[in-house]
Point group: C2
Chain length 742, copies 2
């Protein structure tokens, strides 16, 4: 290397360019961008020549077979949609399920001759069709030339052939375009692109080879075909229910579901896998991270959108998201779960909404929820920062888990409610319910997180003056008290707690908790001796606005006198267990004779809580105390769900498909004060699209009736569902069951 | 319910509010926002009273112990930093490691009397300190009052006590504040907050209880303490190396690493877990999704930032990100891996950069990389869309895996390069290397993805005229040819392929591939018979700008004459395997006598490729062909790395700590054309911060010398590292090894 030549002199560096860096391209990184939108597509050429045209131009193609017409047989009453359980989809296109044959009619200029004519139908999805990626699939009518999807001629009459096509049971789910191609020695001639030959291919729970195969007809009928939702809330000893119209067959919903995956830029090639789709959707159903479907809010201020308690179904939400391309306001857990359910059922993945009562949150494998008491036994609200949700809704979806060892297929938990710590992202699952039950929480995805939601301990710590903390009571049964879902085919609840947990105190339960600890779950190890005084709070049913009272019972199980310094605290809480305000506080000192019990009356006046009410009107009573003689800490907790007034729904008219009917909603303001800014919403699965009415003011004691006409689309038992919602009174519900004759 | 009263009339709904929805709050959702920033903090009160002040105001605290001074013993030459292996950190604060005792001196107004005085030191991290979350930790000097961290008095002299404090080996890693508190019957008195009492607690690979314990001193010395990087690239038969200054001890780097987790809003309570930290960092090191550290670009146009090939170390990148709070431009895989390595070593997680030669990408469990040939055996570049990276760099970090069954601790793959499909997010790992080797890819995180990177098959398909595809050749050994990392304590390479794979063709290898298939990996099943003609391409070492030639050898292993129609294609490729442009194309027909071989000469002139060169100057030769007599398809591939000119570095001067020295970079432009817009960069671990010089033009044949002065900070063997980079010539490297005496 030489040192000669003109020596270059250094210059000042050029000024740094300002502004944001340019958009990153795939140049150099990948040969083509990854296809990640189902609405993008390529046009296949109408003529594809082998070699260049000869000196005389294009050879005459006229002597070969020409395609006159293609009929996708896409009407709801034709065999395709009937046999594929897709007749309910309001779509102009053909909708079929994978792993099962469907038929198309192809008409040529002359009768088709298998010996002489080479034809194929070609299916294409996304912008970058590739045979080896399953995004370009040629299907041939003869056994000799086999593609990945099977084809056969099922009928021939004159110039028309009927071709039966069976997509593989693991093919990509989404919207395809179908071409018919004729191969000649000079090249390939194809049909021109036409939207009438678009078709949707869905998951198929009726076919054994599909990863979502569910071999139970009532369950399948409920978890794929039912639009009628029943979602449980309240508390485990006073369960309420909420009706919901999933609306998965409504016009535009299927396209909205595909749009959600497009918006997530989910690679097309991943869209045959229910594990990947359900995981991606759990992230996309909430707006965190990725501008997904629903904005969560628990704040009580829903000025900029619809209150979570006001929705009656998923249709408005999904169509709103797909049309505005902006997240929809607002959701809480059951809204996330209900819309997620629509998404899954619409694509053909069996799914259901479940409710877990007393659900530990934001724990991620730490099986402790801490309540800190001061050294007098009173709750320290500054230091107590964990909350237990009164209930939490999530989804289960049904699929095999080839990515896990055998035994973990079946129901999988997925959850779209944005949690603080599920692998650091706002998504959760699929986590195998069987893995959760058996403490096998080392398998993806987020099993440890769901395990904590149903298995956490509530630990009461006593904090002494010098700052040391000591666990004084561990409640191992409060969290995950009950898991409910709708009974297939009935409007009742089904207790599925035993699918998540072995029975309390059983040997299996202990083994499971030990197994989970091996995988890093942290449990409270200390086992403070139980106190010999019990506190008992009764179960209450109270209507909102009522004065009421109840008795706290203190039971002395010892042979000596006991004196309890008790703290009785009543708070208005959100359903997330977060305290809004304390409306009642008593500090009785109670003396109890040996082996006796004493009742302490607690009186609650409506005026003390009515002004503080938030959202779902839950009152939370916590009693803590210290036994003077022994220093033991005693506690009791109870959630009281105030029952709201109801809407009265009356339905009249024909009760037959396509005959006009009428539904009226009646409401009387039971309070002395006026309700302002009131929305009433109404809809019904298969009978009525979502409708709403706004009342700026409903004076105290006044009544209203709102009437709407509707035309049932299909037969069967269904409901009209209505809600009333305003800032000072939320979650007023009503429904009427009707049966539509064919 | 009554129908009487004034009937409210419906109003038109109020106008929909415009604009974006308001910022979502945590109100109602959680009691307090989750603490997710280490730069946020709360001030603990200076006086914390028990009960309200009495009628006469505050009681006199003067009779109790008063705190005069707190000395954290934070100088590099004091025992804390020496014993904790943290003396190299350029920080004014104390830096220690968890699970190991450190000392603080506390001076009071009078001698401390253990019988009478109640003192505690309190450690606080984040905005919402809670005892039960490990974010508020009181430590007591006596055995009787035990907190989670142990404390003891290790020395007493007059009014000063030395307290030894041992954080638990699983405590949160980050920046804490320490208070000294004195407890009196009336309340607690504390030191006022002062940044001199901030301290950093890091992971501790020297302590058996820490999840990152690494019981191998040379490995630990390399993977935690070494700032000198050696990163391999090129191709498996012509390996090149790149020097890198990790700079994990440089001023501001530790704060930058904590900022990265703050920017990710990573909950403070997760920051004791190396699994969660390394997973989160793999997402945050790239800018996709989350405005992370580095913007990837493979485009060749780096106008808006620094070319990936131009960086000499991590310091500029991390300090730039922390100060601008904007992603830094630009990175390719080794830059991501090198900066990730700095992050991990800085926090005390043992880590190393590894290079996988021929790395399959974007596959996610599909173990096939497809190359499509037309029915003459020529590559169809329109249909061939997969690419195999010539090499890919990722990181391994060392930790136990309590979340998995026993046996999967140790080295874990993490990868910050944004992939297209790793669980749908731009992050990857930690995936257990042992799990990958044994095909146990059902365990988190992303093991299936890494498995595919080292185990994919290359499948050649032949596409016939009617569109059907047939696999004609499967190469099962091309991908994952070799995995290299730096040898501990030496500037040489270490082959660790056997940590990822059993030897080719062994029984174990077959078992592993079968196991992986059970978990959903899709392999090519067909096994087309090998052709009886082999194509052999030689290994070449060529300098950029040279004309060169080589012989393609065609070997006929049959007893009959063979005729091959060959397609020889030479392309300029990115290191990602993506083809930029074809500069050579030959279609010889070669006749080979039975059991003979024929050599076909291929001549390459520099002018044919020089204008097309991109980036790292790789030429890719692919030969495909069809044997006329048998219809067999034959293939051969070879990557030729053109060797660039080098920089000459000369160092002179004292060679002692704190004595000024001089380094000069010399370069001669070997080409006839000018180089424009040239940056030269230089730095050295422990001796020189990053520096650069800009030359607007270096004329053909001319030379330059750039000289910089520097003052070594510490003793030992180190290197001066330099790069030269401009749009028409990238990746010109140079280095000089020097030894600094104490």
């Amino acid at each position: 290397m030489s040192d000669q030549g003109t020596t270059p002199t250094p210059s000042p560096a050029p000024p740094a360019p300002t502004g944001r860096p340019p958009k990153v391209t795939n140049r150099g990184r990948t040969a083509v961008p990854v296809a990640s939108s189902n609405s993008d597509s390529t046009d296949m050429p109408e003529f594809e020549l082998f070699g260049s045209p000869g000196p005389r131009g294009l050879p005459p193609l006229t002597e070969y077979l020409d395609i006159f017409d293609v009929d996708m047989m896409r009407r709801p009453d034709e065999s395709n949609k009937m046999q594929h359980h897709t007749a309910f989809y309001s779509s102009d296109q053909l909708v079929v399920r994978r792993g099962q044959e469907f038929q198309v009619n192809i008409t040529f200029n002359r009768p088709y001759d298998p010996a002489r004519d080479k034809i194929a139908v070609e299916f294409v999805i996304g912008s970058s069709p590739q045979y080896s990626k399953g995004t370009y699939i040629p299907v041939f009518p003869t056994k000799q030339r086999k593609g990945s999807w099977e084809g056969r001629i099922t009928n021939k009459s004159d110039k028309t052939v009927t071709m039966g096509i069976t997509p593989t049971a693991n093919c990509i789910v989404g919207k395809y375009h179908m071409y018919v191609a004729v191969s000649t020695p000079f090249g390939i001639r194809r049909t021109r692109k036409d939207h009438s030959r678009d078709l949707y291919i869905l998951f198929n729970p009726w076919v054994a080879d599909d990863a979502v195969f569910l071999d139970d007809e009532p369950e399948r009928e409920e978890c794929v075909m039912s639009e009628m939702g029943l979602i449980f809330h309240g508390s485990s000893d006073d369960v309420s229910e909420r009706n919901w119209n999933y609306g998965q067959f409504n016009y535009g919903i299927l396209d909205a579901c595909l749009y959600i995956m497009d918006r997530a830029e989910m690679p097309i090639t991943d869209r045959g896998d229910p594990i990947k789709i359900s995981r991606k959707a759990s992230a996309m159903l909430n707006s965190r991270d990725d501008e997904g479907v629903l904005v969560g809010s628990w704040s009580g201020d829903y000025t900029y959108g619809v209150a979570p308690t006001s929705w009656t179904g998923s249709t408005d939400i999904l169509l709103g998201y797909a049309s505005s391309k902006m997240p929809v306001c607002y959701a809480q857990c059951w809204v996330y779960a209900a819309v997620f359910n629509t998404f899954l059922r619409c694509l053909g993945i069996p799914s259901r909404v479940v409710t877990n009562f007393y659900s530990a949150h934001d724990n991620d494998g730490n099986l402790k929820t801490d309540i800190i008491l001061d050294d007098n036994g009173r709750i320290d609200r500054n230091l107590t920062r964990d909350s237990i949700w009164n209930y939490h809704c999530w989804n289960e979806c049904f699929m095999s888990r080839p990515d896990l060892p055998p035994g973990f297929g079946g129901w999988q938990v997925v959850d779209a409610t944005p949690q603080e710590t599920s692998d650091g992202m706002y998504r959760c699952g699929p986590a195998s319910v069987k893995a959760i039950k058996h403490g096998q929480i080392c398998f993806p995805f987020d099993a440890a997180f769901v395990f904590a939601e149903v298995n956490s301990d509530v630990v009461f710590y006593s904090r002494s003056r010098d700052g040391t903390m000591e666990p004084v009571k561990v409640n191992r049964t409060h969290v995950g008290r009950m898991v409910l879902t709708k009974t297939p085919g009935e409007m009742t609840r089904r207790d599925i707690t035993d699918q998540y947990k072995f029975s309390e105190g059983s040997a299996e339960e202990r083994t499971v908790l030990e197994k989970a600890e091996e995988y890093g779950c942290k449990r409270e190890k200390s086992n403070p001796p139980p106190a010999d005084v019990d506190l008992v709070l009764p179960t209450l049913e109270v209507s909102v606005g009522d004065d009421f009272s109840f008795s706290l019972e203190l039971v002395n199980r010892s042979d000596q006198q006991r004196t309890v310094d008790a703290y009785i605290s009543g708070s208005v809480v959100f359903y997330t267990g977060v305290t809004s305000s304390e409306f009642l506080f008593m500090t009785p000192t109670v003396e109890i004779e040996p082996n006796k019990s004493v009742k302490e009356l607690v009186e609650v006046q409506s005026k003390s809580y009515m002004k503080q009410l938030v959202e779902q009107a839950n009152l939370h009573f916590i009693v803590t105390g210290k036994v003077k003689e022994t220093g033991q800490i005693v506690t009791a907790m109870k959630v009281v769900n105030l029952h709201n007034p109801k809407l009265i729904i009356e339905v009249s008219g024909g009760g037959k498909v396509s005959e006009e009917m009428m539904a009226s909603v009646q409401f009387t303001n039971p309070f002395t004060f006026s309700l302002e800014g009131v929305y009433i919403r109404m809809e019904g699965p298969g009978i009525m699209p979502p409708k709403f009415k706004y009342y700026s003011l409903i004076a105290g004691g006044s009544s209203l009736t709102w009437t709407e006409f509707f035309i049932p689309l299909r037969a069967g038992s269904t409901r009209v569902i209505a809600t009333l919602d305003c800032p000072s009174l939320r979650q007023v519900l009503g429904q009427a069951t009707i049966t539509i004759e064919p």
